[in-house]
Symmetry: C2
Subunit: 269 residues, 2 copies
């Protein structure tokens, strides 16, 4: 039995392609349909109600396009919207796999950097403490990191100064592990590493979620035996920088389809 329908992956923007890239490496026989909701990004400053509504629209759109499962490759949407989501498809978020990996690595003190909304939700803190109750968790919202990535200032003294500001309290508190709790942040990993030094372990949810998806598809008999060549990226707005960053992340040329969520597939409630 083989199921060649694509896996749907969505993020508010381009960052979730770090998860798509991890899926491509881990599951080369699977095709991916990616949706970047660029018309409504960022999600990280918005309320639970709004992020839940946007997430439902995105999942409905992907379901309408015939995916067999959905990966919510956005930490904010994973943190705020998964409990409210109505769908018959298997769905994976990035919080639980990231928390799992952090618990494996940490000796007891974990830092989490994420968007405002993810931090406010305490989703990581709860997922971590559910696994190990005595874990010390220090969270910090870093609202400037996404715009710095989108500006392309990945290796830049301004970015370093911002990172020092954000990370100093976590480092002073002695974290041994740092969760990169936003799909944009892996692009800053070298800059973050330069601030933390080599002794702090960095957790990127992308690899962890790819492993969980692989296991989940196998369990449900949904694996594909052959890549159909139908990898495809949809965006809700034609942002100029998306294609450039997408090429950097996927290390290949990309073709974008501009979609309107109000007419194609999902309906705005």
């Amino acid at each position: 039995v083989s199921d060649r329908r694509p896996i749907g992956v969505f993020d508010s923007g381009v960052g979730g392609l770090t998860v798509a890239a991890a899926l491509e490496r881990r599951l080369p026989a699977e095709s991916i349909l990616y949706l970047g909701d660029t018309a409504r990004l960022p999600y990280g400053t918005k309320s639970e109600q709004t992020v839940a509504r946007y997430t439902q629209t995105n999942v409905d759109f992907l379901a309408g396009r015939g995916v067999k499962a959905v990966v919510v490759a956005c930490n904010t949407a994973s943190a705020l919207a998964l409990p409210h989501l109505a769908t018959a498809l298997p769905v994976w978020g990035v919080i639980e796999p990231g928390a799992e990996r952090a618990v494996e690595l940490s000796a007891g003190r974990v830092g989490v950097i994420a968007t405002e909304s993810t931090v406010r939700s305490e989703a990581y803190a709860q997922a971590l403490r559910r696994r190990r109750a005595d874990l010390e968790v220090l969270s910090r919202a870093c609202p400037l990191l996404v715009p710095l990535v989108e500006e392309g200032w990945l290796d830049d003294p301004v970015t370093s100064a911002v990172l020092v500001r954000y990370l100093a309290p976590l480092l002073a508190a002695g974290i041994d592990t740092l969760v990169l709790g936003c799909t944009h942040y892996p692009l800053l990993a070298p800059a973050i590493r330069a601030v933390t030094g080599p002794d702090v372990r960095l957790v990127d949810s992308a690899e962890a979620v790819a492993a969980e998806v692989a296991a989940g598809l196998a369990e449900r008999g949904l694996e594909s035996d052959r890549h159909t060549g139908a990898d495809h990226i949809c965006v809700t707005d034609a942002a100029a920088h998306f294609e450039r960053l997408a090429r950097t992340i996927l290390e290949r040329p990309v073709r974008l389809e501009l979609v309107d969520l109000h007419t194609a597939g999902g309906q705005e409630p």
Copy 2:
């Protein structure tokens, strides 16, 4: 004759309150209904088509609430959406008044800082050159400034470093006037002034548009004789920082109403 209906003012977020504050100072007898489209902000990275659609929804919402005129207090929406807007109400944007003021002040070389989309539209460059064809105009997109304002880092070494980076090419080219082409930027005026020095004139569109609205209302016999006490702020998403920044800008407590543009007033097309 007196028309006590409110003036509708909208922006993607909190920044347009700098325009509302200027209107309050200039026209104390007018009431204001403000709409911050926080669920879909920022506009400054989005396409003309998307910004035009959002702007139409916002104007329809304000019209549905009974305003007598609309001020588009968002530079991006003024630059991209005004030509596409369908409404029977008088509408003012912030680009033309800002350009008018810059031409009055400049000896010949004007710098414009704005969002990516506003710069790409060339709306300021065109508005300036229409008034004085030999004016030299240098534009620079500054995508980090809005997030820095929303982070509240108004007086901060990181903000100074970012401003130095953005402004250095304009200052090296010898601008004598600098247009603050985004409604968030007046909040950074002291930090910008510290980088430009005292010889560069800063143009804030808020004061300029307030003067134009005053003249336009008088011309059309739409002036109010008495403030009705009905100043009101609507937002499309309950962002935590909005209230704090709104208080800073308006210098008084504010009360927010959360609205859904899809059901109340305007319809999403």
